[in-house]
């Protein structure tokens, strides 16, 4: 089965500009607000955001060219999985620069995040304007909850970060990610080109 790696690379290169700009923006904000003290945790949070954004953009706008140019839904879905895997590898490599080894929980949570992004993108595509509105509200809520927790001070943030060390968290993250991927496929398999 042909998976058009050149197309994925081209698409990623085009959208990485936006992802890179977002990363720089958060790093500046982090530096200004002293969140940098949480180093790996904060950087992981930034990458989580990017890991949500890229697959959701792939599902929402990336589908237009492949599906209208003769790529099957199965191929497109597998291309999405390649993209997720590629992003996960890149992020892991970057995280290795900040710690001797990346905590497995962080990597697993990023896998769940990237699957959430894919599902949200698929939902937005399937339900159109309503999906976009729900997506925006969910993003707003997530941002609000995150902001609220950080506003509660260092202790709360440290508590949140310590959740990452729970032994069951990687397993739960992987399970959630797999369920989200399966749900995305259910939408992808009958996706239409407008």
């Amino acid at each position: 089965m042909k998976l058009y790696p050149k197309f994925i690379a081209w698409w990623l290169a085009k959208h990485s500009v936006i992802a890179g700009a977002l990363l720089v923006f958060y790093l500046i904000i982090g530096a200004l607000t002293e969140y940098r003290v949480f180093d790996l945790g904060f950087i992981a949070m930034i990458f989580n955001l990017i890991m949500v954004l890229l697959p959701s953009t792939w599902a929402m706008t990336g589908r237009v060219f492949p599906l209208s140019m003769g790529v099957t839904r199965k191929q497109f879905f597998l291309m999405g999985q390649l993209l997720k895997l590629f992003c996960l590898i890149i992020v892991t490599v970057v995280l290795l620069q900040f710690a001797p080894y990346p905590p497995i929980a962080t990597i697993c949570s990023m896998f769940a995040a990237t699957c959430s992004g894919e599902l949200l993108g698929a939902l937005s595509t399937r339900f159109g304007k309503k999906g976009m509105i729900i997506f925006t509200i969910l993003c707003g809520c997530a941002g609000g909850v995150g902001g609220f927790m950080f506003s509660q001070g260092v202790e709360m943030t440290v508590t949140l970060m310590s959740l990452m060390t729970l032994p069951a968290l990687p397993v739960i993250s992987v399970l959630v990610g797999c369920c989200e991927t399966a749900a995305s496929w259910l939408i992808y398999r009958k996706m239409e080109v407008q």
Binding site: Y4, F7, V64, F65, T72, E192, Q194
Partner: protein
């Protein structure tokens, strides 16, 4: 081996509205087809279904005897250059012309890059311009570049001339015929602008309100119709027993469009009391689909 693109019993429902009603249609290899129908007749829906860009509620679509849906091999041989909408805020509109062509180059297996660049220069398309910033005519040209350079054995163009002026339309049909002469691939052109198209389409499919009402050779179809005019009584007498499709009255004069067998039409042409003239494809199309307003 020549492959046929075939749909049988095709039904498509959007919400509660059935847009295609058990459509049977066949596109043979190496032929230029015209898919004509009024706005909202279901042309784009039919083309979307046969190219697996939209799923059908019922029916079967095959290419060379194999189902088209999720068939990598079959879809690689079909190019559906759909009409690009200026109002879509996501998808292809956010890209530049060169990105659009780049994506086509990476995805279409038979893509001819040199020909694509030639066409871009010929049409004067600006490579750095965003698709959303293109005029309607330029969008049509981009669709044409995509279709012709795809080199797909089955190439489908959805309303390619909708935004083009008469000079550009003639240029497009010339390009289409040149390409067809070289490649002998199947072209399916959906349109409702028939001025220049009639002489290009070898076969025509007329879609009306989700039903295929005519399907066959263009010349054979057009030859079955005549425009008969004269005094009312004489016209009525001349066309008695024939199928009258359109009727126009002005005072004591009357004009009708009739459809009949070759034998009946030959007899009709010998009638000295009425004026008889042949119809072009556009008039035939109006006669067949414009009756609701008539």
């Amino acid at each position: 081996m020549a492959k046929t693109l075939k749909a049988s019993g095709l039904v498509k429902v959007y919400g509660k509205k059935e847009v295609l009603h058990s459509v049977d249609v066949e596109f043979e290899s190496g032929c230029i087809y015209g898919l004509i129908g009024r706005n909202g007749a279901g042309k784009t829906t039919l083309l979307s279904c046969i190219t697996a860009q939209t799923w059908a509620n019922a029916g079967e679509i095959t290419y060379g005897g194999e189902p088209v849906w999720e068939n990598e091999k079959a879809l690689g041989e079909i190019c559906f250059a759909r009409e690009i909408s200026q109002i879509l805020f996501m998808g292809q509109n956010t890209y530049k012309v060169r990105d659009y062509l780049r994506a086509a180059k990476l995805l279409y297996p038979h893509w001819d890059e040199q020909y694509a660049q030639q066409l871009v220069d010929r049409f004067g398309l600006e490579r750095k311009k965003r698709v959303s910033a293109l005029s309607k005519g330029m969008l049509s040209m981009l669709t044409i570049v995509l279709a012709l350079a795809s080199n797909a054995p089955v190439t489908i163009l959805d309303e390619p001339v909708a935004g083009l002026d008469v000079v550009a339309r003639e240029d497009f049909y010339k390009l289409l015929l040149d390409n067809y002469a070289k490649t002998q691939r199947t072209f399916i052109v959906s349109t409702h602008i028939l001025d220049e198209a009639a002489s290009v389409f070898e076969k025509v499919i007329i879609l009306d309100d989700g039903n295929v009402i005519e399907q066959g050779n263009t010349d054979e179809l057009v030859s079955q119709f005549r425009y008969v005019s004269g005094k009312e009584e004489q016209v009525d007498e001349a066309v008695a027993g024939m199928k009258v499709l359109l009727e126009e009255k002005a005072g004591r004069s009357k004009a009708v469009v009739v459809r009949s067998s070759e034998q009946n039409l030959q007899q009709l042409e010998q009638n000295p009391d009425v004026d008889i003239s042949p119809l072009n494809l556009q008039k035939v199309f109006v006669a067949l689909t414009g009756q609701k307003e008539g």
